[in-house]
Structures are given as structure tokens and as C-alpha cells.
């Protein structure tokens, strides 16, 4: 009997040794099939044809993605006035596999330290507010990668998402118009929120985390306001400041108290959306 117990315990240890408790959280799978194509600073990884039941990108679509991403890469450099020349890796997971693999059924997320981002590819073109047809998001995830590397780790979600939304200039969700899926501009969304009286004050934005269009648009618009009112250089210095030190640091950099700035921001919103 004792021997049987022993064998069972030993077998159990042997099995969990092979599978590992860590696999309960993460199954590190490095045997996946990717096709890689690159252009300038963008390296796109995508699935071969018929890899899943849902479509994989065609060569022509990958060309569009490469062109778009390089365009956005340059746009970020110009907007933020920073130097960055590393490659950024884009991983396109087909929609049929994405939820299991990357915990997303749409959209994507950035992995700053690995200069990468994941995106759920569903084969549907979307129109960016700048007129480009995009298949793998706009500048949003690229902004996360680049700002996290160049400006330091984000101190608040408000500026982390704010930078991404402000530079990309688009909404998170699309609307169906004239036969196309279109992203709306942040200004359009904020116009609606303002008219409904639900604009978030900066003080609330800093202490809040929400992963929805409302929060993202508010954070983006607030960041646009900071860019416009205090300049890129000062806003870049605020990017890694945590919420607990934000008010003090803001005053040090601008000479304006946080409370004064909040009022200026609300007046700015009023000027932009209230009159019409």
C-alpha cells in the first residue's frame, strides 16, 4: 500500500514537472508558424494561408499594413519630437485563434519592452480619419511602444492612453457609414460627450482606469489640450509622472496649479464644443 502511494506521488511530481504549474498561467508556445515581412522599421508577422478558418492577410494587405505602419512611425517621431530608430514587430493573429492565444477578440495591445504589439486580424478594412484604409490599427499601439521606450514607463493610464489616442486621432470603435467601417475622430466623440455633460475632469482622469471608448476619448482629448497649451516638451516630461506626484510636477513645469489648469481645460472644451 505504501509503495502504491509512493508511486502515485512520484508519478504526480513527475507529471507536474513536465507540465509545470507555471503553465497554469502561461503556456509558452514557441512552435508557431509565422511568415515575416519587413519594410524600414516595421516587421510584420502573419499567418500562412488557411492557418485558421478565418482569413490570413494576403501579400497585398501586408504591403498596405507595412506602408501604413511606417507612415504612423514617422508621424509619432514628428509629433513627439523624439529620436527612435528601433524596429517594431507587429504580430497579426487571425481572429479565429486570437482569443485563445492573446486574450483578445478584437483590437490589440503593446509589449513595450519587446518592441512589439499584437493585433487581431479579421480581414475587414477600416477607414482611418486621415483617409487611409487600415487593417491592423492605426498609430495607437505603436505610440505605446515608442513612448514607453523613449519617455519612460507611463505614470498614469490617462497619459498612457491619452498619447496613443491623441496622436492616432481616432476612436477605438468603428461606425458603419456608406458601406465602410469608419473610425470617428476624438473631437467628434468629445463633442457628443460635452453635449451630454459627461466630459471627465483631469483630476478624475488621473485616478481612473477604464478600458472603454469614453475613457480613451477623454484621455486623448485631454492630452491634445496639454500638447496645445503647454507644448510637447513639457507634456513629455509629465508622461512618466505617477498620479501621486502629478499635481506638484505639473505646477513645477508650467507655473499653473492643477486646479487652475482644470478650469482652463473646461473653458477650452466649452470654447470648442459649447458655441455650436
Amino acid at each position: 500500500m505504501k509503495l502504491q502511494i509512493f508511486i502515485i506521488l512520484f508519478g504526480f511530481l513527475f507529471i507536474i514537472n513536465i507540465w509545470g504549474c507555471g503553465e497554469f498561467f502561461i503556456n509558452i508556445n514557441t512552435n508557431e508558424e509565422w511568415i515575416i515581412r519587413s519594410k524600414d522599421n516595421i516587421v510584420v508577422h502573419y499567418r500562412p494561408e488557411r492557418y485558421t478558418n478565418t482569413p490570413s492577410p494576403t501579400d497585398s494587405i501586408v504591403n498596405i499594413i507595412l506602408d501604413n505602419k511606417n507612415h504612423f512611425y514617422e508621424l509619432i517621431m514628428d509629433t513627439l519630437d523624439i529620436k527612435f530608430s528601433d524596429n517594431i514587430l507587429v504580430y497579426l493573429y487571425n481572429s479565429g485563434e486570437a482569443y485563445q492565444k492573446i486574450d483578445r477578440s478584437k483590437g490589440g495591445y503593446a509589449i513595450t519592452e519587446m518592441l512589439s504589439y499584437y493585433w487581431v486580424y479579421d480581414g475587414r478594412p477600416r477607414i482611418h480619419p486621415n483617409g487611409r484604409t487600415i487593417f491592423a490599427g492605426g498609430a495607437h499601439e505603436l505610440v505605446h511602444v515608442i513612448t514607453g521606450q523613449v519617455l519612460g514607463k507611463p505614470g498614469t493610464h490617462a497619459l498612457d492612453e491619452g498619447y496613443a489616442v491623441a496622436i492616432d486621432g481616432r476612436s477605438v470603435n468603428t461606425v458603419f457609414e456608406d458601406g465602410f467601417l469608419r473610425y470617428r475622430t476624438v473631437v467628434e466623440l468629445m463633442d457628443e460627450y460635452f453635449k451630454n455633460g459627461i466630459v471627465l475632469k483631469p483630476g478624475k482622469l488621473l485616478y481612473k482606469i477604464e478600458f472603454n471608448e469614453y475613457y480613451y476619448a477623454n484621455a486623448g482629448f485631454f492630452t491634445m489640450f496639454l500638447f496645445e497649451s503647454y507644448g510637447i516638451e513639457i507634456t513629455n516630461q509629465l508622461f512618466p509622472v505617477p498620479e501621486s506626484k502629478f499635481r506638484q510636477r505639473f505646477f513645477e513645469l508650467t507655473g499653473v496649479t492643477f486646479e487652475e489648469m482644470e478650469q482652463i481645460y473646461l473653458d477650452y472644451c466649452d470654447d470648442m464644443f459649447g458655441a455650436g
Partner: protein, 278 residues
């Protein structure tokens, strides 16, 4: 929780006391081991679906580790004290087909130093086998430098103190050959861990911050021991995961985004030699 800790403490005290004066069968082994480690580091992801199957890109490192250890064994108890130091090794990246698009591997490196103590008590014992359980406090220091192709650099180090349960099963396959299976789950709380992160961008912009990591390291291993007259030669394999998340301060539930996330897998192969002292 406090009650559980008290019961655990009392059970160790009682078990240890019963063996206190037993010096007849006491042996001490002191030895060294050399270890080849294959480390794959993946990235942070939101853990809403478990397990999440991910792979690319990953950072890859294969350090050689040197261990010095001492084991004090009595009939019922075992004390292991071990110091492990890796030789700093380069880090490269694999994007999916073996290509490194990210790191300057020659200027990226990894160092790990660990001091661990494992206190084991005998739970079951029979002719050829034994089951032991115990606790394993440890101090872990990790230092990582990531230099990207552009020249920008991230340096981070952390010092972690933690403790966790351990289970060991021994089986005497032949008179001189013993097979051992072991599990250890180390938890390094925020309160006893501290780290420092610094990044220097290509344009010279510096960002630095302290951080407080919360780390869990489950580890499993199999060892085959060849017991000679005055020495033991062992070969072993173990697999560990390191799952860690760190914010800038101890307030883990604050809305400040994560500063450092580690998801690493270690495959370790080693050979050790120890000498017996009576």
C-alpha cells in the same frame, strides 16, 4: 491565516525537537554543481484567460550557473544551504523564426544570484522510499541589461526575499542509486522585495524608478544520485517559472501602470559532486 502559520510553526518545532539529540546518523555533504540553464522570457499580458498560450517574441539566455551547497542530514531532518551564481550571459531575442530584430545581444546580459535554505522534515518513510516536506526561504538577486539595436538601454535589478513550501520524494532504486523528485514554490512578497529600473533612450532621455516586485517561482525537479563511499555524484533536471509583477510602490492596487513584468521559463540541467563529512 495567523492560526495556520502558528500550527505550521508548532509542527516544525515538535518535529525538530524530537530529532534534536540525534547525532548518531548525522552526515554533512558539501559540494559544488555546475548548471546549464535555458531561459525564455516572454511578455506581460492581461491574465483574463488561463492559461494564455503565447510565444513570440521572446528573450533567450543560456547562462552557466555555479552552485556551492552544504547538506546536513539526520534521520528525520535535512538542512540544505545553497548559493547559486550565474556567469553573466548574453541575451538575444527570437521573433518567431530565430531572427533577432530587437536586441544588441553582446551588450545585453543577465545575472542571477540566489541564496536558499531548505529545511525538510520526514513525513513518510518505508523501505526504499521517503516523503519529506518543509519550508524554503530564499534571497534572490536578479540583474538584467537590455541593450537594443539602436543603442537604447534598459537596466533593472531587484533583490527579493521570500519563502515557500517544498516537497521531496526519495526512492532507492538500487543500493547506490537514488532517485529524487522535488517541488518548491517560492513566493517573494512586495514587502520584502525591492528593485530599480533605469532606461536611457537613443536620444539620451533618462527615466528611472524604484519598484516593488511580487514574485512567484514554482520549481520542479528530478535528480539521480550515485552514492559512493565518501561522495555523491548527482545529475538533475529542473523546470521553473518566474511570474512577477512590479509597480513603483507597495500600493499594488493603485492605478499606476505596471513598471516591470517578468514571465520567464527556466530549464536547468546540472551535475553536482559532493563530499561526505561525518
Amino acid at each position: 491565516m495567523k492560526l495556520k502559520l502558528l500550527i505550521l510553526l508548532i509542527s516544525f518545532t515538535v518535529a525538530a525537537k524530537s530529532d534534536e539529540n540525534n547525532t548518531v546518523n548525522r552526515t554533512i555533504h558539501t559540494g559544488v554543481s555546475i548548471k546549464y540553464t535555458d531561459i525564455r522570457s516572454v511578455h506581460s499580458i492581461p491574465l483574463f484567460v488561463l492559461p494564455v498560450s503565447i510565444g513570440y517574441p521572446f528573450f533567450h539566455s543560456t547562462p552557466i550557473e555555479l552552485d556551492i551547497f552544504s547538506i546536513l542530514k539526520t534521520e528525520r531532518r535535512e538542512h540544505l544551504l545553497k548559493l547559486s551564481v550565474t556567469i553573466p550571459s548574453r541575451i538575444t531575442s527570437d521573433s518567431g523564426t530565430g531572427s533577432n530584430y530587437i536586441l544588441d545581444a553582446d551588450n545585453s546580459n543577465y545575472l542571477r544570484i540566489m541564496l536558499e535554505y531548505n529545511y525538510l522534515l520526514r513525513l513518510l518513510n518505508w523501505n526504499k522510499g521517503a516523503l519529506m516536506y518543509g519550508i524554503a526561504p530564499a534571497i534572490l538577486y536578479e540583474h538584467k541589461i537590455l541593450t537594443y539595436i539602436s543603442g537604447q538601454k534598459i537596466t533593472r535589478w531587484d533583490l527579493n526575499m521570500g519563502i515557500g513550501p517544498s516537497i521531496v520524494i526519495n526512492y532507492q532504486v538500487f543500493p547506490r542509486i537514488e532517485l529524487t523528485g522535488q517541488f518548491r514554490g517560492l513566493i517573494f512578497p512586495l514587502y520584502t522585495s525591492f528593485g530599480r529600473y533605469k532606461s536611457v533612450s537613443e536620444g539620451g532621455h533618462v527615466f528611472s524608478s524604484n519598484y516593488r516586485p511580487l514574485t512567484y517561482i514554482p520549481s520542479y525537479g528530478i535528480i539521480m544520485k550515485w552514492k559512493r563511499k565518501d561522495s555523491i555524484i548527482s545529475v538533475g533536471y529542473s523546470k521553473s517559472h518566474q511570474i512577477s509583477g512590479a509597480k513603483r510602490n507597495i500600493d499594488y492596487y493603485s492605478s499606476v501602470p505596471m513598471l516591470v513584468v517578468k514571465i520567464d521559463r527556466f530549464h536547468e540541467f546540472y551535475i553536482s559532486y559532493s563530499i561526505k563529512f561525518k
